[in-house]
Symmetry: C2
Subunit: 539 residues, 2 copies
């Protein structure tokens, strides 16, 4: 394995691959930047999704910036997620497994580009503090402040010193103040430990590190594993780090920007209206505050941004692939269900709510197949609140293709026999569970009201075949392969074959029909017809 | 309204529109033709689907044909369905309503191109009978005989003389014998009436008529309406017809081919293996036999073929649009549910099994909204066996876009509260209901066995909002519109906007957040931040 040594090397590689849209004309970071990048997710096919580099930025007050913005660069699509880790879409999970098996502690170096400029002490705000950077407005017209979106928050467990890296978003609240939007996870665990000791939590907000850092930051690495080591595992070698100036933290030496500071543990900040990955804006939340103590950055820095909110987005790709890896490993390795072949999550469900589990070799039992139901029920074991809908399909169904999944649901599933609904689940950010006029926020996570007295629910659906079927009604493989050659010779539009693209047997194909098919392939139609008519009869 | 006067005028119009792929090189009708046309459905996007005209045909025995084949020409896509009736995708259902309100009886003319050549009496088989035509093999490698796919069967009610037109498929069983694959519907009713009288059913198999005939032939016109009159209504004027030579029937004068004959009512033919619209091959069925009495055709005839079997296909488009019209009319007009806005069927479900009902203005009630449930339950009233899955969505969801539908399911639906499963349904051609080793075919339509003691089932899901929600997390409309202009100026790839493409309110948007948003739009970030921090507090 190897890795991109800094964001600029990565952006150059993206551009060479035709996956970076460079924008040199002036763009308003507050009114134009996010809507422009958003259009690719609402108007292009996934194969066309790419990154953006904005080189000439202004804002709604007319300021201009000596700071570029890169957005949608890490993983708008599965293809680009793989590219960032120097893998292919098929080998992503293998790369992850190797990263966990062979973590590399970082290598401390005395200096690095990220400290080319240092603003500290009395000079902390000399260039405007946080406002030096062209931080865009997201979800324009609803959100009232510039939003940090691709920030990797570095914190340490105060007991063990183990580093957590988490990508959380937040808002600029002034030159030296921001918020960190997180409610659960390891960051929160560190915060709780500091709160018990009565001290603030030290943190470094890293912006524009090597892709390996971002990929680790959005993934649920087991608590206790140092995520800088895992990032090294993903890179295949130690990540170079430098010491922070004002907090006890080491950060990637080639990062674009590092903002050091402290998070009070006796105070929380109200959250402004904030577009979420569910496709809705959330309100009435409280989040962590962040007081800046030092800012370091490269010359001509690049602010790293991500497109989140309404799916599909860069966020739904990253989280979906992470959830697939997590649940595949849980079902196959932890639960020992060898018959699980793939787990697929989907953009449209904000990644987490819809899960398709592809099974192989589950024959032998008809309805209520315990192996299938083991997988369906165990799929709820990764979290209290996701997935919400789980569909089991056979190996010949493409779990990432909703059309393929619904073909399975149409003809391999009987609702009354193949459905189970499970109550008593949490409902994170899901407004279907109760109206927003429920005052008690706890009620929103686990309703006990008349509307939904037993919490939220999940639905499990078994769309695998319960017995042998007749063949798939497409021409046999060699006919389709031959026709594809003719198609290409004729210069017709390029094909992107969709599974299944040829017929195959599913167990029921009596000899009589095979014999007739073979006669037909030789053009012996008269003999076939005679055989059929001989079998006919009075009614 | 106007109409295409014959198939050749229509094909020329298709070609001018860039929607006909003309293939002049030699193609084997038995091994190459269907696989080639099939590829567009397994390898291109719907916007690229078009018709094919094969001009130089051979077969597996080395014969060549003075007969062309046109396939996938009537309605591979919604766009082409509309084009064939000189409508737009948005006005299809309005054209249908006008056709029913203003039917035109046909105009009998003394002669027509379809009788340019007549094979009758002792000369009936002079050119090989049916085998004169280049009838392709479908589902290659599984089906043993050339298959008639786009044939419009004309029959008359022996009591009233009213004409039924039904597009059914069948197989060539020799120069003067074929089968007609039909189990239910008006054709079967005519057959039953003749059977009671002890006479065969006269029929004319019409191939390559004007598009209006094909569109009527695949649609469930109410029994008793003469479908030639309805076709005239769709055309906007009477269809010219000529008298058949050997049966008491009138057929469109500009058809490519008409095969006249009789269907025995005391005999049924075994059906060979046959690819079906479910995506599977069916076996063990019996169908009608057809004895040819006369063949008439244009010079240089065109055999009209359709791509069916595995969805998506031309067949799933035609049937889906027909089912949408049928169910929209049933729900809105017959059941009086004014809040039904659209009904959408989907290719992947073989058109009929998955139905999305788009509702508007159903506010005022929270869960268990009786209007929504009226529509969901009534959607099962069109048939004993379809749809199988019905999902109700709000007006802001695109019911034809599965991603949009699953976004609704993810955040507007609670399985335990918003699901009903209905048993006691039929299961036409759906193997999920029981294994093929159930000998009794009745058991396959309505199982009573241990596996499924109460028949098949349907699942109804209410994915409408039950109360007000916070806004959709996309930039407001004017930001997106402005960014689209910039997108186009920058020369980025053409956009196909997907709903929703901008944020909008869904009822919950307190004044405080609106005020902060307005401040943010003016760049008054310090004031917003001050307001937020003033509300913060100890934890």
């Amino acid at each position: 394995m190897s890795y991109f040594k800094d964001l600029r090397e990565y952006l150059a590689a993206l551009e060479e691959k035709g996956k970076l849209r460079r924008v040199s004309r002036q763009i308003n970071k507050d009114t134009e930047l996010h809507p422009l990048a958003r259009w690719q997710f609402r108007g292009l096919d996934e194969s066309q999704w790419a990154g953006f580099l904005f080189e000439n930025l202004t804002d709604v007050k007319g300021n201009s910036y000596n700071c570029r913005v890169a957005t949608s660069i890490i993983s708008p699509s599965r293809e680009m997620y793989a590219f960032g880790m120097k893998a292919t879409p098929e080998t992503i999970h293998q790369h992850w497994r190797e990263a966990y098996q062979h973590p590399h502690p970082p290598r401390l170096v005395p200096s690095g580009p990220v400290q080319e400029e240092i603003h500290i002490g009395q000079n902390l705000a000399e260039h405007g503090g946080i406002n030096e950077f062209a931080i865009p407005i997201s979800t324009n017209g609803w959100e009232p402040l510039p939003r940090w979106t691709a920030t990797s928050w570095f914190t340490r467990d105060p007991d063990t010193g183990v580093t957590n890296i988490g990508v959380y978003n937040g808002y600029s609240l002034g030159p030296l103040r921001a918020s960190a939007r997180n409610w659960r996870g390891h960051f929160k665990a560190h915060w709780n430990k500091c709160r018990q000791r009565g001290v603030p939590l030290q943190a470094a907000a890293v912006v524009g590190a090597v892709p390996a850092i971002s990929l680790v930051g959005v993934t649920s690495v087991p608590y206790g594993m140092d995520e800088l080591h895992v990032a090294g595992g993903l890179a295949g070698e130690p990540i170079d780090v430098v010491k922070c100036q004002t907090v006890d933290m080491e950060v990637p030496a080639t990062s674009e920007i590092v903002i050091e500071g402290e998070i009070p543990t006796d105070y929380m900040e109200p959250d402004p209206a904030c577009g979420e990955h569910t496709g809705y804006i959330i309100i009435n939340e409280r989040v962590f505050a962040f007081n800046v103590t030092c800012i370091t950055h490269r010359k001509n820095p690049i602010w790293h941004d991500i497109i989140s909110q309404m799916p599909p987005s860069e966020s739904s790709t990253i989280r979906g692939i992470g959830a697939e890896g997590r649940l595949t490993s849980l079902l196959k390795d932890a639960c020992g269900i060898a018959q699980v072949k793939d787990v697929a999550f989907h953009h449209c469900a904000g990644a987490w709510r819809l899960c398709v589990v592809r099974m192989q070799d589950v024959g032998g039992v008809r309805t209520e197949n315990p192996v299938v139901w083991h997988a369906l029920l165990a799929s709820l074991s990764a979290s209290t609140d996701w997935p919400k809908m789980v569909i089991a399909v056979d190996e010949d169904i493409d779990p990432w293709d909703l059309e393929s999944v619904f073909w399975a649901m149409s003809f391999r599933y009987q609702p009354h026999r193949d459905t189970r609904i499970i109550q008593g689940r949490y409902s994170s950010l899901d407004q279907s569970v109760g109206p927003y006029d429920i005052e008690d926020m706890k009620e929103r996570w686990y309703p006990t009201s008349r509307v939904s007295p037993q919490g939220a629910s999940a639905i499990l659906m078994d769309a695998t075949r319960k017995w042998d079927y007749t063949p798939v009604s497409l021409p046999k493989r060699h006919y389709m392969e031959n026709a594809r050659k003719i198609w290409e010779e004729l210069g017709f539009p390029p094909l992107k074959p969709r599974e299944p693209w040829h017929g195959y047997s599913l167990g029921v194909w009596p000899d009589k029909y095979q014999r007739q098919a073979e006669l037909g392939e030789r053009g012996e139609f008269d003999q076939v017809a005679r055989e059929i008519m001989d079998e006919g009869g009075k009614v």
